[in-house]
């Protein structure tokens, strides 16, 4: 069954079709949630919430954008809603996320290199999480998920100009944070 047929069945409440449909999306959704929250527990909760939102509202999908862009949109909204809700609550710790979601380590890594990479990862996760949410969302979708500016504008329900400016400012902030820790990043190399 192709994507469209699965969507049509899911619109009628067919949970099995929906689960098949979303199996192709869940890894990206989870990666987005991991980048936005920085920890597994929140990312898993967010994944489930986003899945339920999508299931309940899939009849609102109009086949005008790509399904995956629409899925990004719901997923990101779910993340942002949760982040805004907990704005005044302290962030959960960075424990347990440092090795999650990175490309496999180079087999030739020495233990020292491995430790360095882990430290860099931890720093960058922290940097991304320090970005304001809207900026973080745009940077994650562009620089990690690789969406086009147009798709990001759709996913974030804004215009391309705003997206470009958020991404540009987000990158600028990340560069500044990296420069402020140049001792670490210079060891990491270019």
């Amino acid at each position: 069954m192709d994507e469209r047929q699965l969507i049509e069945r899911a619109i009628r409440g067919d949970a099995r079709a929906f689960n098949d449909l979303m199996s192709a999306q869940e890894k990206r959704m989870y990666a987005v949630a991991m980048r936005m929250f920085g920890n597994r527990e929140d990312a898993e909760d967010c994944l489930q919430d986003a899945m339920l939102r999508i299931f309940r509202s899939i009849s609102g999908f109009k086949f005008q954008s790509s399904f995956s862009t629409w899925v990004y949109r719901v997923t990101m909204n779910t993340c942002l809603d949760e982040l805004r809700k907990r704005k005044n609550r302290p962030n959960t710790s960075l424990d347990g996320l440092l090795d999650a979601g990175w490309m496999p380590a180079d087999a030739q890594d020495t233990p020292e290199q491995h430790a360095l990479r882990a430290e860099v990862r931890g720093s960058v996760y922290g940097f991304i999480r320090e970005l304001p949410e809207d900026m973080r969302a745009a940077v994650v979708l562009r620089d990690i998920q690789g969406l086009s500016y147009e798709d990001i504008a759709q996913a974030l329900d804004t215009n391309v100009g705003t997206v470009k400016s958020r991404i540009s400012r987000g990158r600028e902030k990340l560069r500044e944070k990296i420069m402020a820790k140049s001792e670490l990043f210079d060891r990491y190399g270019v």
């Binding site: 949970a15 991991m34 489930q48 609102g60």
Partner: protein, 277 residues
């Protein structure tokens, strides 16, 4: 280039749109400008970090199981109630019954067989249903369950737009099946509506009570078709009560028919053809 242009070149570098000429002009400038050279280095470091961050991540198995189970539970919930569209007694009855329903909902998550037969053209039904299309896809504030349900119902009406072709095909299929059903001849023109329900007997009991509530007469014939429990419900109602009666019955329908498939206009004779899913 000069220092103020650097950022846009760095963005282009990250986007992979920097030309070779632009790159060499960036390099040239950075040879003689330490501040820009630092930013360029940080940019390259950032690119490397991004490149190592995977756009897809394996979902831990327990988390996969958890969301799939949550979706199955959601699918088993009773047909969504649209509190905006019903009022008074009908609303109270449907809410009370919805609660009972939830306890007895079947465990299967297979595709629901859908069919609907209406006397309206599909086009008319579709254009009417658009007026209900008020709730945009993503406005599920986690406020309270009832509101979410109401939104869901309004959204579920959208399916008519997406599914026109499929629905028409199924309407034809249902009409073909209906042609073989036992039919009671009546004098007055009769409005005939096919419903797919999860428990024919339960819905018949409810319809009997509801018909009494709305001062109507009801005659029920049970039959089986291909092993599926079915029933013909012949109902005569005062014209003024028919819309509310149908509105209440509509909430048992799992066929996904648009709400206005259940509209009546001055009709008092109804034939509801129930089929278990």
């Amino acid at each position: 280039m000069n220092c103020t242009q650097l950022d846009q070149y760095l963005d282009a570098m990250l986007d992979g749109t920097l030309t070779a000429d632009e790159l060499s002009s960036v390099d040239d400038h950075c040879q003689g400008c330490a501040a820009c050279a630092e930013k360029l280095k940080a940019n390259r470091q950032m690119m490397r970090v991004f490149a190592e961050m995977a756009p897809e991540m394996d979902v831990p198995l327990p988390a996969q199981a958890r969301w799939r189970e949550a979706v199955r539970n959601e699918a088993r919930r009773p047909a969504r109630l649209n509190f905006r569209l019903i009022g008074g007694i009908a609303a109270a009855l449907v809410v009370a019954l919805g609660a009972t329903f939830a306890l007895k909902a079947p465990a299967g998550d297979d595709a629901k067989m859908l069919s609907v037969r209406t006397e309206q053209s599909a086009d008319a039904a579709l254009s009417d249903s658009r007026t209900l299309d008020a709730a945009p896809a993503m406005e599920f504030e986690a406020a309270d369950d009832a509101l979410i349900e109401a939104d869901g119902a309004a959204e579920s009406v959208n399916m008519a737009e997406e599914d026109e072709a499929v629905q028409e095909a199924e309407a034809v299929e249902f009409a073909a099946e209906a042609a073989n059903l036992p039919v009671k001849s009546v004098g007055a023109p009769m409005r005939e509506i096919g419903m797919v329900v999860d428990d024919v007997n339960r819905v018949c009991d409810y319809a009997r009570d509801l018909a009494q509530e709305y001062e109507g007469d009801i005659d029920i014939q049970h039959f089986d078709e291909d092993g599926a429990a079915c029933a013909n419900l012949y109902i005569d109602l005062p014209a003024a009560n028919a819309p509310e009666f149908l509105e209440a019955m509509r909430h048992f329908d799992h066929s996904g028919a648009p709400a206005d498939a259940f509209d009546v206009d001055g009709e008092t004779s109804l034939l509801l053809v129930l089929r278990s899913e």
